[in-house]
Symmetry: C2
Subunit: 117 residues, 2 copies
DNA sequence: CGCTTAGTACGATAAACACCGTACTACGTC
DNA sequence: GACGTAGTACGGTGTTTATCGTACTAAGCG
């Protein structure tokens, strides 16, 4: 079997808003959900980039999980890209800081609400 | 209806969450709405306290207006009290700053989204 | 190819939410 | 007491949202 068989992997791309397009209401709404906030906090802890969705152990189904990641991505809070079968996420720290200085920091520093909802 | 003995002015009081009770998710949710954000920005501009609800000229009906002020109050973003026939509002700047340092400042500094929704 | 793993798409459902209009209460004034 | 003003309560409507299960695609492996 010729080694050239494997062409480029099918580049599955995901739409992301440009830095200037980030809306404050959208970001606040994204962060206002306990599960999404938990995702963001986890991403912030392990700031060394790129966590697969499955690494979060969320108390919801797979499809609900996909939904929350999409809300975070579409609001511009996280960036996602595919690598093999997994979809890796990381915080858009710099973009957020540029556009809404201090916001993410304040949110991350805030005391977590008594767990549950 | 019990005809309360009219002593002094009937003290109409409104429930407010204690400073320690403020929940991040609740505050973020309250701030995630364009109309409520507008109210908060207006209160922040005129930081010399106490604006009546009618002073905001919001593009919604009276009852919707009441609804938004309630969300802000119940989440702990504003404090309200009655004075005569009007219900005066002011930002709970200090309480918010104590519990979520930098959050309100960051939100107020953020560029407003292109108006509309 | 068949199998597994990781995630998405697609309904469907129930709850929450923004919004309104009408009816009401509280206060101030005449 | 009657009237006007400021705001609330209530009930209703349409939209959005969080959630799920099932069916699907994409990538890697034997």
């Amino acid at each position: 079997m010729p080694a050239t068989a494997r062409t480029a992997a099918t580049v599955r791309t995901l739409p992301h808003p440009a830095p200037e397009e980030l809306r404050l209401e959208g970001v606040l709404h994204a962060l206002a959900d306990p599960i999404r906030l938990r995702i963001v906090r986890t991403l912030a802890e392990r700031r060394h980039e790129n966590l697969a969705c499955s690494a979060f152990e969320l108390p919801v189904s797979k499809s609900t999980s996909t939904h929350h990641f999409r809300v975070l991505r579409e609001s511009g809070v996280i960036r996602q890209h595919y690598e093999g079968t997994s979809c890796l996420s990381r915080l858009r720290r710099d973009d957020l800081e540029d556009r809404f200085p201090g916001l993410l920091t304040a949110v991350l520093q805030a005391p977590p609400s008594p767990s549950g909802k």
